[in-house]
């Protein structure tokens, strides 16, 4: 395996004499109006290669791979597959040629089962039964366990992604594109994925891998192509670079460090949760059990944990998307709010950023100004006597754009047209600009590039410094270590007692995330439950 890697080191390309690139783009260009999302990009993908595609949010990574996958037509330039020029009429042609893709945003039907979703994504004619059998076989071969009969809405993000990967693998692709596959995975899940990818590579397939996590790129990838502002700036061997030098190439300058203001003062409790228990709304949801914590102004509490352990349910209970019968379970700014709607909670000064940005945090087909109104209508002076103040909504868009450097093709585009990371910056910005007293945020930097992640984390710190209470749910332990004052762990619907960030070592958190307790007393309790 090691020998392979060295032998097939594809830079410079001459070393691959005898072989030709599996796929190459020549001058590939995609224009949206007068905005160049991809500007004349040349890229070569070799078999038996894991090729990283790096770049800031909005650099054009997703656009490039969508063109390669036939989802969008390039405005100029060409794509060569195994030496031959091809013009793809759509994804199914790409699939039939052996190009597979796993998207940044999942394309699954929530109320269909795993097997049905897979069947819908395949264009073959095999019977449902054969397909299910093959599904099980592929998922076993690659160590990606999936229960074909479960419905998608019951699954964690990691499991959903597994469906997409298995679905792509069932087409037996020669070339697999993964758009930010690890953004939502826990470190353990990511490690599992890397094993699968190494194995695919050993089988002679090529992989194009988009990620913002540079350490993991250095570990996994043989080649890296870096985009900036729609242009290719470099192709290099990431193993010979440092994370910092890769980041510099992406940004074209230095990346800022996040720094916490020293001497942040904590004030009164602004968000208190008292013995919150909630039966799941959905058959396979997680039951929240006796959750209690207190969050003071000026403080950031981090919630770690493997996805699907009740974080979504907790978010819904805190936001008011699900109400609790007992008003006292959630107290916002000293007011019992368990029974209050999300709008009323916003009026009390709370703000929320959900994990899923398209379809939950925003209405994908609506403009940014309308999406500003979506959460701003309650308490931001955007509505007067029932009438929308369009100027005020546009102003929020402009301010979020400026403060958080949201890059987009025009002033007020549809939410779905923004790159993933830029949309995230907009959503976080939209809420922070309301100066909330309490901010509840899930996965704040999921899919956000290093520079922008720093900006968002800094904004959360600044918000806390200004006196707000901030609750951050994240799977990224480094992120929590960087910004949180205390960290608690969610497991099977229960929340551990928070640890001071200084005491929360990876080992301790890892134990809690796996369901073990730190104290013998609690072990006994868990065994009894």
């Amino acid at each position: 395996m090691q020998a392979h890697q060295r032998m097939l080191d594809p830079t410079p390309n001459g070393q691959n004499s005898g072989e030709s690139p599996l796929l190459r783009t020549i001058g590939l260009t995609k224009r949206y109006g007068d905005f160049l999302a991809n500007d004349s990009i040349d890229i070569d993908i070799w078999p038996r290669e894991i090729h990283a595609l790096l770049g800031e949010n909005g650099a054009g990574k997703s656009t490039l791979v969508k063109a390669i996958y036939g989802l969008i037509q390039p405005s100029a330039g060409e794509i060569r597959w195994q030496g031959q020029r091809i013009v793809l009429s759509g994804p199914s042609e790409a699939r039939s040629r052996g190009i597979g893709m796993v998207f940044q945003h999942f394309s699954l039907f929530d109320n269909l089962t795993v097997a049905e979703n897979v069947a819908l994504g395949l264009d073959g004619k095999e019977s449902f039964k054969d397909m299910s059998a093959r599904l099980e076989q592929v998922s076993k071969t690659y160590g990606l366990p999936l229960d074909p009969k479960r419905e998608v809405w019951q699954l964690s993000v990691g499991e959903r992604q597994r469906i997409e990967i298995v679905r792509a693998l069932m087409q037996d692709p020669k070339f697999l594109i993964l758009d930010e596959p690890t953004a939502v995975l826990t470190p353990q899940e990511a490690d599992q994925l890397f094993i699968v990818l190494e194995r695919l590579k050993a089988e002679g397939r090529a992989i194009l891998y988009i990620s913002h996590k540079l350490e993991e790129v250095k570990r996994l990838c043989d080649t890296a192509t870096i985009l900036r502002g729609g242009r290719k700036v470099e192709t290099c061997n990431p193993r010979l670079e440092t994370a910092a030098s890769l980041a510099r190439m992406m940004v074209g300058g230095e990346v800022k460090e996040v720094k916490a203001a020293s001497g942040r003062k904590t004030t009164l409790p602004r968000l208190v949760v008292n013995d919150l228990s909630l039966a799941p709304a959905e058959a396979h949801g997680v039951r929240l059990e006796h959750i209690s914590f207190e969050l003071k102004g000026g403080e950031i509490l981090g919630i770690a944990g493997v996805a699907g352990n009740g974080q979504d349910e907790l978010f819904a209970a805190l936001s008011g998307e699900r109400l609790s019968k007992d008003p006292g379970t959630v107290v916002i700014e000293g007011i019992a709010a368990g029974h209050l709607s999300i709008t009323q909670r916003r009026k009390l000064g709370a703000a929320f950023v959900p994990e899923e940005r398209l379809g939950h945090g925003t209405a994908p087909r609506m403009k940014l100004s309308e999406n500003a109104l979506l959460t701003g209508h309650a308490a931001s002076g955007m509505v007067r006597r029932g009438f929308i103040d369009t100027a005020a909504t546009l102003k929020t868009v402009d301010r979020a754009t400026e403060t958080f450097d949201v890059r987009k093709a025009k002033r007020d585009p549809e939410a779905a047209s923004l790159s993933g990371g830029n949309l995230q910056k907009f959503i976080v910005g939209r809420e922070i600009l309301r100066n909330p007293a309490v901010l509840v945020v899930s996965q704040p930097t999921w899919g956000v590039d290093a520079g922008a992640a720093a900006v968002i984390r800094q904004a959360l710190l600044d918000l806390a410094t200004a006196g707000a209470a901030v609750l951050v749910t994240s799977q990224d332990l480094d992120e929590l270590a960087e910004i949180a004052d205390r960290i608690a762990v969610m497991f099977h619907g229960k929340l551990s007692a928070p640890l001071a960030a200084s005491e929360a070592s990876r080992e301790k958190l890892g134990l809690l995330m796996g369901g073990s307790s730190l104290e013998p007393k609690e072990v006994a309790h868990a065994a009894g439950a």
Binding site: S96, I342, T343, G359, T362, A363, E370, L374, G386
Partner: protein, 363 residues
């Protein structure tokens, strides 16, 4: 070989505008074939349908009169459909509105009741339409009953109820046993806009309804709410909008508008209550709503267009003995094509060749 629908990556803006026009074009082509099969000269038939009604003042007024209920009902339906609430029973709400309003007209008949009668009729009709529409809405919200089925079934209830009234308690004693009420008094009649013409105040009301819908959907938070709930339900919930309340509200509004259209029709062009006051306005309005892209101005245009087919159908019957039912066929085909063309906005057709299957099996 296999024909599949494949989702488009980018939404085609041009097709969104062109799609209704394509649908109309395809409908006309189909109609030409149909006329030919019926043994009629297609060109003359098309002329009778689409050109002749536009050439004289009387027909033009008649188009506006027919478009009035279509537009009013379709505006209400578009609010429902935008919010993902499927009211199919506007016809029933129309009839109930007509009945409720007529009740005042019948009870005040021959008395010296004053100018309050007509406004009272309009208000009662709108309220009755709204209440009638609330039945399916509440069944949906409380019990999860399909509003499509319940609203549709209530059409027949309303139809038979009207039938019973005009054959029984409300029948005009001097009406030679015809199932109809007596002609309404002048105070219970919608005033004409042109002396001796057909155009009446209802058309103005319809225009006001269109204007109100433009403002509602474009400028108010309620209109925004309606659009978000339909377009992205989960985001709407996150925004604090309650889909169930909105089902109730949009059903009530669309029922009220249908009921209002009903009484305006009875107290206007018809002049009394009788069975058959509606040539299926409540159903045709569904076509109007979709042909108009659920957009108030689009609906105004689509309403006038479908009114034209009603008038044209009558003229074609008189001039060429083409059965009146052909109009219904026309409208049905039109709806079919509108929906089909709409699918092209989100999807595209694609031929898939199965030989790939073989390649995969081998490789």
């Amino acid at each position: 070989m296999q024909l599949v629908l494949e989702k488009r990556a980018e939404r085609s803006g041009t097709i969104a505008l062109v799609s209704p026009l394509i649908a109309i074009g395809l409908t006309i082509v189909t109609m030409v074939i149909l006329f030919a099969i019926l043994g009629k000269n297609p060109l003359l038939a098309l002329h009778a349908y689409f050109i002749a009604p536009l050439t004289d003042g009387y027909s033009l007024q008649e188009i506006a009169v027919k478009a009035t209920p279509l537009v009013m009902i379709a505006i209400g339906l578009s609010l429902c459909y935008l919010a993902n609430a499927w009211n199919i029973g506007a016809e029933g709400q129309f009839l109930i509105g007509a009945v409720a309003g007529s009740w005042i007209a019948v009870k005040t008949q021959g008395t010296d009741a004053g100018a309050w009668v007509l406004p009272a009729m309009l208000i009662l009709a709108a309220s009755a339409g709204a209440l009638y529409a609330l039945i399916p809405a509440i069944c949906k919200v409380k019990f999860g009953a399909s509003e499509i089925l319940t609203s549709l079934m209530l059409v027949y209830v309303a139809d038979l109820f009207l039938d019973y009234l005009v054959r029984g308690p409300w029948r005009d004693p001097h009406g030679f046993n015809f199932p109809t009420t007596a002609e309404f008094d002048p105070v219970a009649t919608v005033p004409l806009l042109i002396e001796g013409g057909r155009l009446h105040l209802g058309s103005i009301i319809a225009l006001l309804v269109v204007a109100a819908a433009v403002i509602l959907l474009g400028r108010t938070i309620k209109g925004f709410e309606i659009r978000v709930v339909g377009a992205a339900p989960r985001a709407a919930r996150f925004g604090g909008f309650n889909a169930d309340q909105l089902i109730i509200l949009t059903f009530a509004v669309s029922g009220a508008l249908a009921g209002l259209a009903g009484i305006i029709e009875v107290a206007g062009p018809v002049g009394h209550l009788q069975p058959g006051i509606s040539p299926g306005y409540g159903f045709t309005a569904i076509i109007v709503a979709f042909l108009g892209r659920l957009n108030p101005l689009g609906i105004l245009i689509a309403g006038l267009f479908l009114a034209l087919t009603f008038i044209g159908g009558e003229q074609a019957q008189i001039a060429m003995k083409i059965p009146l039912d052909v109009t219904k066929v026309f409208q049905g085909i039109l709806l079919f094509y509108v929906l089909a063309c709409d699918s092209l906005i989100l999807y595209r057709f694609k031929l898939v060749f199965p030989n790939r299957q073989v390649t995969r099996g081998a490789g």
